[in-house]
Symmetry: D2
Subunit: 351 residues, 4 copies
Amino acid sequence: MKAARIVKLNEPLQVQELQTPTAIGSQVLIKIQSSGVCHSDVHVWEGYYEGIQGQQLKTTDRGVKYPLTPGHEIAGVVEGLGDQAEGFTKNDKVLVYPWIGEGLCPACRIGEENLCDKPRSLGIYTDGGYAQYVLVPSYRYLVKMEDDMDTDTSAPLSCAGLTAYGAVKNANLKPNENVVIVGTGGLGLMAIQLAKAITGAKVIAMDLDDKKLEVAKKNGADIIINSKKEDPVKAIMELTDKLGADAVIDFVNASKTVETDMQLLRRRAKVVLVGLFGGELKLSLVTMPTRAYKIIGSYTGTINDLAELVSLAGRGAIKPVVSNRFKLEQATEALTMLKDGKIIGRGVINP
Amino acid sequence: MKAARIVKLNEPLQVQELQTPTAIGSQVLIKIQSSGVCHSDVHVWEGYYEGIQGQQLKTTDRGVKYPLTPGHEIAGVVEGLGDQAEGFTKNDKVLVYPWIGEGLCPACRIGEENLCDKPRSLGIYTDGGYAQYVLVPSYRYLVKMEDDMDTDTSAPLSCAGLTAYGAVKNANLKPNENVVIVGTGGLGLMAIQLAKAITGAKVIAMDLDDKKLEVAKKNGADIIINSKKEDPVKAIMELTDKLGADAVIDFVNASKTVETDMQLLRRRAKVVLVGLFGGELKLSLVTMPTRAYKIIGSYTGTINDLAELVSLAGRGAIKPVVSNRFKLEQATEALTMLKDGKIIGRGVINP
Amino acid sequence: MKAARIVKLNEPLQVQELQTPTAIGSQVLIKIQSSGVCHSDVHVWEGYYEGIQGQQLKTTDRGVKYPLTPGHEIAGVVEGLGDQAEGFTKNDKVLVYPWIGEGLCPACRIGEENLCDKPRSLGIYTDGGYAQYVLVPSYRYLVKMEDDMDTDTSAPLSCAGLTAYGAVKNANLKPNENVVIVGTGGLGLMAIQLAKAITGAKVIAMDLDDKKLEVAKKNGADIIINSKKEDPVKAIMELTDKLGADAVIDFVNASKTVETDMQLLRRRAKVVLVGLFGGELKLSLVTMPTRAYKIIGSYTGTINDLAELVSLAGRGAIKPVVSNRFKLEQATEALTMLKDGKIIGRGVINP
Amino acid sequence: MKAARIVKLNEPLQVQELQTPTAIGSQVLIKIQSSGVCHSDVHVWEGYYEGIQGQQLKTTDRGVKYPLTPGHEIAGVVEGLGDQAEGFTKNDKVLVYPWIGEGLCPACRIGEENLCDKPRSLGIYTDGGYAQYVLVPSYRYLVKMEDDMDTDTSAPLSCAGLTAYGAVKNANLKPNENVVIVGTGGLGLMAIQLAKAITGAKVIAMDLDDKKLEVAKKNGADIIINSKKEDPVKAIMELTDKLGADAVIDFVNASKTVETDMQLLRRRAKVVLVGLFGGELKLSLVTMPTRAYKIIGSYTGTINDLAELVSLAGRGAIKPVVSNRFKLEQATEALTMLKDGKIIGRGVINP
């Protein structure tokens, strides 16, 4: 089979001919039809995240090993099943849950494998979806798709969609609350749709770009704020009777956005940090207890969340937008375009 | 009645003769027997908390007005009841819940008056317990004490005990988790007792003082760490199979302690910030989602928490230690001794 | 003021001239504009509920005393405020939360006054809304309405709407679950609307009447089942891949409906019992643990639920249908029509 | 290997020589040291549970197939590991989680495999622990034991202990609540110990046997009631200021005990049904909403619960009592003695 692999950091991916794996035990071999191109693939390609005080957090320090076939948003059909794999038959259309854990830590044991102590996520710690086939360690990581669901628009559910969904769940919104969604790119848009579908809360979208904000409004945002044109803190305080926001979900998570977030909070508010932009926040410690704030790091979601999300997507509650399609040989181009901000919506590789 | 009042910041409290209030409507007049001297009284006396970058957060900016009778840890007996007050009769021994809210915000409506948008806590926003009598706005803020409970050792339950209890609840500990209690003064000790009584978790006490750590051990800490003598991060990593702590409850909440806290966390860990020492933390933003940390500001507890706590205290699960007793005229001395670290355990005023 | 009162069980209500109360302390006097006529008013009028083995549970055994002004769905404007009442001014348009508790039991202390040990609900234990004015014990039981909200269609929120909302919350539905709503009268319809607005679950409406089922479909039901025309158990099993329903909310709660409910459940399913029809169920005890069922009695909702509901109603997520309007003098007629099944939607008294 | 198998219902078990399985994929082969004899083994042997109206619920209708090697409380050492099994090495001392699910239903996906739609529990749906070896489908179902833990007293944790623990968790007890434990045999005793260790609630033990009640008292029960000697409803009402019990956990779950349970409940109370005695309850339907009762069927616990329980047991919070030890050849004798009520504590087979 062919796979597009990161052999050296920041250099073009190599399309290699590898042996197609065989499924044994509980494993399932998936023939990939659509593989989403995610911004965290760019971090894996570059080899670092931005930490505090200008330092870089290296992917290798998190346990990533190269060469690696990236790609963790995978939709396709079942090609082969190990002897102990069950519940699926050949050609079943499936979405792959990539956030696989070791299985023995407390997180794994309650189904939060995305938060495993020793993660082995597909496309990050083991070979992933920029390939013709992927070997999934167990049939348990598959979610059946309805026949009328499209693999291109479904693939992004397993990371972009799931991350938005996990963040909305972590915000634990009530119908008489408001939530500020910071960043209205792909994830922010999905979070807006999901918050509208399952919480009843009032959604305030915040971004620097009027066009994106217009799209946010069409996708359900009750109010939009361009934080370049108006003071976001003042705007939120006016909208909330000077009380502040009940929750913020920050899909950027950079110094500048989170500094602002912390100024527009109602007492008891939650700040859900999702983006991987990074940098540092100067956090006032005494304010945390007196104002009873919660700062919550949110990392993708569970396999049960993915099953819920596929159910919602099957009924149209959330619609990932695929804007660019690539061949396997164009993987480097796909990553470069994403890095340069040239992909609106989601890019998908069809191997 | 006599009351010891803060008239000017940092100057000696004045013992004034005020008119004893009369209870009307739902109000109840309490004859005070014991009034705890709390470290936050010192902040109210000094007029500020420490913020970020050396700035002071003024109490007046939080809405505190002077002159003020401080004191929010109040135990005594019912003296008078308004026409609509019920459930109590004269001379009933009661503990007063001081964290009173306006009653209309979402926090108040689920019984979290301690987190009200517009708080009117006794001894902070309205006259409190450094006096012979206190007027409580409703019988609903009273918790009946068993006859054999002592007012001196019970008074600190309504702030010190409740703050420890709220923090332990916010940590949401499981029996196979460990928790690091940072600071083993009065609150830390009570948190250790409470964590042992209701969670089943393993308790690791951390402090700079061997004597206090010995007391922590006697009160239930499974493991003690003197962070002056050994590297706390290394120690925790060794104790936890290199995974880190499941939760930290920081009763100091200063730059230095929280910086350490953030280095000894297991993935998914909670950091509960309780102390009012303050200062700033340089928080690495990208670490929040990738490690799925939660930073939780914890501010006292609800009236229901207090009822639970009084029930636990009545059966000996928690025992506040009263080390110093003062007359009303010694209020300034009490605050000064507390500020100077000369009170071990709790000081109580008997007016 | 005039009030329509139950003086003798089952006899016509008497319109009496009573002294208009004055608000003192925290009390608020409300000038009533709309007072909903609820099926539980019929029970209060008749004096009993149906128990097991043909026995009647008497309202007087639950502590109801006569003569009584019934009516607990009250919308109007603020007329007078006691000295300690705050947050409202004269002529504010408000909805009254009638499920008032004593304030000292654990339920009250977490804001679940509807489940108080010693309830004093308006219109049941104290005089209610079939009158020109009602005295509310505290401003805390008022929820402000937006100016453009109508009192006639809002009044039923405080019982019919709140009961539907509490039941939907008790079912704790997930987006990949299905829920069977048994009974598609006023409450059932609102439950369908609310389940669609805040849960993402698939809603199956069940009734004996095709016309009502059509209305259910228009209000959001995904699937409708006429249990007179088709076997409901068979129908549910076919719809759910032979697994059964994840949850049932039964707004009838009679022997016959609940017997059916128990046969169409998925393992782990919840049965939420809401209706007051009554009778007995022969429950198979061993089935409860082996199938891990939960049977949950659901009784109205909290004041915070009501605030959420008013927020949802203000944005159109739920629309109570008022079909009949009455004068105070027509109270007996209103109750009789309701008892005889002649009111579709909700009857409202405009005193 | 040797295994004691049920070949015909109610007839003596046959000790057969079977081929020792080999672990492949994620499987692990366990050499059994201790295998608990559980009352549900008797049901599997007899082939039925008692349903309503004198009917029997057959085990074969629940999917049980014979011949079968029973036994689901298994402790031993790792003998062999499949290629994909990890986290353990040969001779590791382990407890086996037997409540294995298919892995694809919503229950499994949140770690509640004990409540799977299509269970394949060891010793019930597949061959279990009355044998020298057992093949566990994945290393994920193993919980490591400390070296100083004994396999005989640990084996019962995986069913008896876990069932008690799951029931205590389902009761969701608060420190100012009381709970009535009905039945103080092995499970009831463990529930008492666990409720004391992790909830802070007041524990009332109820049984017909003074000797067992004395043991209950020694194990932590605050109050004991012999329901043969005194009216249990009256006793509970006196103890609770006429309010009733906050929760009941019924380890018998027979018509007679549950009828009593329903009469001694406080409003909002939970009744947790655990026992498999069975029979029917005539449930008053209208009482469910008006009193806001919850009836909760509780079936064992999750693998995470087992990990928590092993942690608690390792620190002495719970101590299963093993009273009888048997050889494999004595399996029929063990079941017969248990059925006849001749085993106090727990019987364990050492194969």
